[in-house]
Amino acid sequence: MKALETRALSKTFRVKRKQAGLAGSFRALLKPDWEEKEAVRGIDLDVEAGETVAFLGPNGAGKSTTIKMLTGIMHPTSGKATVLGFVPWKERNSLAYRIGAVFGQKSQLWYHLPPIDSFDLISRIYELNRGDYLARRKDLVDRFELGPYLNTPVRKLSLGERMRCEVAACMLHRPQLLFFDEPTIGLDAVVKQRIRELIRDRNKTEGTTVFLTSHDAGDVEQLCTRAVVIHHGGILLDEPVEKLKREVLSRKTVWLTLPEGSENLDLGELDGAVVAEREGRRYRIAVDLKRTGIEQVLSLLIGRIRIDDVSVEDPPLEEIIQHLYGMRSKGEEVSL
């Protein structure tokens, strides 16, 4: 069964262009200059029920606009879409009972009240049976370990605690499809990991379809089975994450800080690792995992030089997307 389907879905905005300065403002007042901006350009997409799809792209690629059309809060300029059998912008109310959404830094919790009050309100809005709601709340509170914060005003919660409450809140009504727009933005590594586990758990135990946008390669790797990359409003790539990992997410970044007075770092004969950037004593080493392993790089470095600090990171998703985009521009094979 299809969770969502789009055909030639497009959205164009009219944006006012203003020239700099006071004169520009007067000119814009008398003779406004409008520009058409194509935010989403003819997207064809099919997502099966139970899939976990990462919807990726650089800032301004059209990810959020697409999610807003799929949740029914924006009307498309042209094209078609059905989500769980509903046309989102025409049947938004009926669809709302079946989907859940977390929009990055937009909160659904009442700022001055404890999360339990927002949960109770949501239970009424979604017309949940009182007994079912209480059982569901208990389950989510236990799984998300929200017990200690349930009665604390939201304004007193840390970002991580609040995000766990946000994610729990969007699951109270057992949605069949969850939309996440940057669910881990601004969170530290431990909280990110926890949120990912919780979303994954819902997908495994309840078969909830997950459709998320993120700038974090970790979200994609750990949560999703399929990645759809959009750029300039159109689909650039649609492939399983496993393949993406093997072929494109095959690079890691090692950050290295050497002690004061150290000699310049020379990786010498190490194949697959290059110094990509240097800031004083701090080096960024790009590692190609197809040619060497992180273990080999680290053991060579530790054996050869003294190190103050070391960390290993995934490359930023933007970098990967730019890489893919670059490949397509050059006419190389992007389909993996």
Binding site: F13, N59, K63, S64, K68, T71, G72, I73, M74, H75, W89, R92, N93, S94, A96, Y97, I99, A101, F103, G104, K106, S107, Q108, W110, H112, L113, D117, S118, D120, L121, R124, I125, Y126, E127, P153, D181, E182
Partner: protein
């Protein structure tokens, strides 16, 4: 239970839940309440002094059908109603500007219904508080509000008055779907209510030509009707006023619904 009954029951539950949580949130704004109340005390004190000068301190004197007691209590009622209405225009404008409207629109509850429930809950709570605060000035200054059935008139017209106030503000607020900036229009609306709405001066005291203009505007049904009926109860007039209020609510309600339907199609939800 039929489908329609169940649907209305569900809407009533949702409205009640939004009203309750809005009320709970009010308790977080204690400082705001104290400041507003202090300001109300100051305004009423100044107006009480002004009217005392106009009546030359004579409690028996009548100007255009109002004694000094009636005019001071009239002011308490109009001020309590004016200050009761939450800043709907600013709320909706902010929701559109920062994109928070996305959260509201993905809920299975009418956007306008949500704001109306929240508005009415907050407004009724504030109205009661402001009435109590206003009494602190008016009671010792001109005596107890012994208006008998006038209280019934005030209460029966106040819910409609606040509903109408909501609709007037909603018309301005929904313009944010097109222009994002609505504070200028809100300023104009507020000043119209202050003047031709009869907040500062009962419409009976205005020139006759202006009274005729006011009779065709919805603003009189927000402040003038409830406050005038409270201090000058007239059963027959109350029925007419309730009718006029209902008519305006139906007309403006329709306008708000049309504006919303058109606006939501044009809406550009900001932010990622």
């Amino acid at each position: 239970m039929s489908g329609t009954t169940m649907r209305w029951k569900a809407i009533a539950w949702k409205t009640g839940a939004v009203a309750r949580i809005t009320m709970r949130q009010q308790f977080a704004y204690k400082t705001d309440f104290v400041l507003r109340s202090t300001f109300l005390l100051l305004i009423l004190f100044v107006f009480a002094q002004l009217w005392s000068a106009a009546y030359e301190g004579d409690p028996a004197r009548v100007i255009s059908g109002f004694t000094m007691k009636q005019i001071v209590w009239y002011l308490v009622f109009t001020e309590a109603l004016t200050m009761a209405g939450p800043p709907l225009c600013a709320k909706i404008e902010d929701e559109v500007k920062n994109g928070d409207i996305a959260v509201r629109l993905t809920r299975p509850f009418s956007y306008l219904g949500y704001h109306y429930a929240s508005y009415l809950s907050e407004a009724l709570f504030r109205f009661v508080v402001h009435l109590a605060v206003g009494s602190v000035i008016a009671w010792p200054f001109v005596g107890a509000p012994s208006f008998g059935a006038g209280w019934l008139g005030l209460l029966s017209l106040s819910v409609g008055a606040l509903t109408l106030d909501f609709l007037l503000k909603a018309i301005v607020a929904l313009c944010a779907f097109w222009v994002e900036e609505v504070r200028g229009m809100e300023f104009v609306l507020q000043k119209l209510q202050f003047t031709v709405g009869g907040m500062l001066l009962p419409i009976d005291l205005m020139p006759e030509w202006l009274q005729r203009v006011c009779a065709w505007l919805p603003f009189q049904a927000v402040l003038y009707f409830p406050a005038r009926t409270a201090v000058h109860y007239d059963g027959a007039k109350l029925v007419i006023q309730l009718g006029i209020q209902t008519g305006w609510i139906a007309l403006l309600g329709l306008l708000v619904a049309v504006l919303y339907r058109r606006g939501v199609k044009k809406l550009h939800v900001n932010g990622g």
